[in-house]
Symmetry: C2
Subunit: 185 residues, 2 copies
DNA sequence: CTTGTCTATGCAACGAGTTGCATAGGAGGA
DNA sequence: TCCTCCTATGCAACTCGTTGCATAGACAAG
């Protein structure tokens, strides 16, 4: 499992509270690893108990105090060990693909709206990624000399962009197939 | 959750035993939905209890008897209802992306072997998909006039092919980035 | 003749992930 | 003033998914 490791990476990039992590998991990290705040708080507690991360109570004004977590020496060791051991290529789970194959036994045309909805969602994500790329990496305000961390973050973001573009093209293909089915129906 | 639905679709395409389903989930269905035999047997039992599927004991020679499952009327209804309700675009989980961002805090060069390993795995899958496409859809032995089911299965397979090609190109990109980091290290 | 693989089914325990709910102060709008 | 949203943390219950193990006959290779 990699939620612990995703949290370690995120805290190395920048220390933060469970709440802040939850928000990052809705944004940048969430592009390739999702988690809810309940899950994050639970895992943070365990990681703290295991000595992977340190806590610091940060009093705040006008809002509740927060616990800021940062990676401890042991956490770095654990992450390093994980980085050096091979992992299996991810197993995919695509509800939509199940639906598309299932549509053969129902009304395929009824699926068109759903596919278009997904296409819009992917188009939105793509727009969002491209804006992020312009802001952080390729735009005029982006830092010119980039360190390893930025180079790698950019590489991951390019992966997200490639994924969304692929999905948009494929969903176009699926729509064409669904429309092509119409006459014989 | 969609394991039930994936099983219903698979059983509609062709009735079969838990064992056969488990093998299909290593092959065609497994391209977009993974499940182990333990999971499948457990869910089949529940689905049978709920009246979604029917069982038929099939005695065999030279090998253990099997229970052949097929979709009951209620199962069809359940599937149809699911097909008509909207689902959220999948949440992705990419261990490798976590590793790539994590590599900035360790030795990025050490990741090259791992990325190449993943690339080989994706190349193998692509080869496998392309062989399947040739066999079932575009080759000389493929049926000429295809029904809706085949058209849709082919569309899903094209999605798998597009995905693997995208991954191969992206992993090339990642490798180039990792190599580009070398000098400054 | 033993070892290993294939078909075929399943239990038990555990770990991961989701859903619902709860608390609580401050800010802003109707 | 009340209602809602935002920050911030967390528990409890449940479902989903993984891992390890067990059984058992048939067949092939060494």
């Amino acid at each position: 499992m990699a939620l612990e490791h995703a949290i370690l990476v995120s805290l190395l990039e920048k220390p933060g509270s469970g709440y802040e992590l939850a928000r990052r998991f809705e944004r940048s990290i969430g592009y390739f690893w999702t988690a809810t705040h309940q899950q994050i708080y639970r895992v943070l507690k365990r990681m703290e108990g295991d000595g992977w991360i340190d806590v610091r109570e940060v009093p705040q004004q006008g809002r509740p105090d927060k616990k800021e977590y940062s990676v401890a020496a042991l956490g770095r060791t654990v992450l390093s060990r994980w980085l050096h051991e091979p992992i299996e290529p991810e197993s995919v789970r695509h509800d939509l693909a199940v639906k598309i194959r299932g549509a053969a036994f129902d009304d395929p045309v009824a699926l068109i709206g759903e596919v278009e909805r997904h296409q819009r969602a992917h188009a939105d994500r793509l727009t969002h990624y491209l804006a992020g790329q312009l802001r952080d990496f390729t735009g005029p305000d982006a830092p010119t000399a980039q360190d390893a961390g930025q180079e790698l973050q950019h590489a991951v973001l390019r992966g997200g962009i490639a994924y969304e573009r692929m999905m948009l093209a494929w969903l176009d293909d699926v729509l064409a197939t669904l429309h092509g089915l119409r006459p014989e129906h």
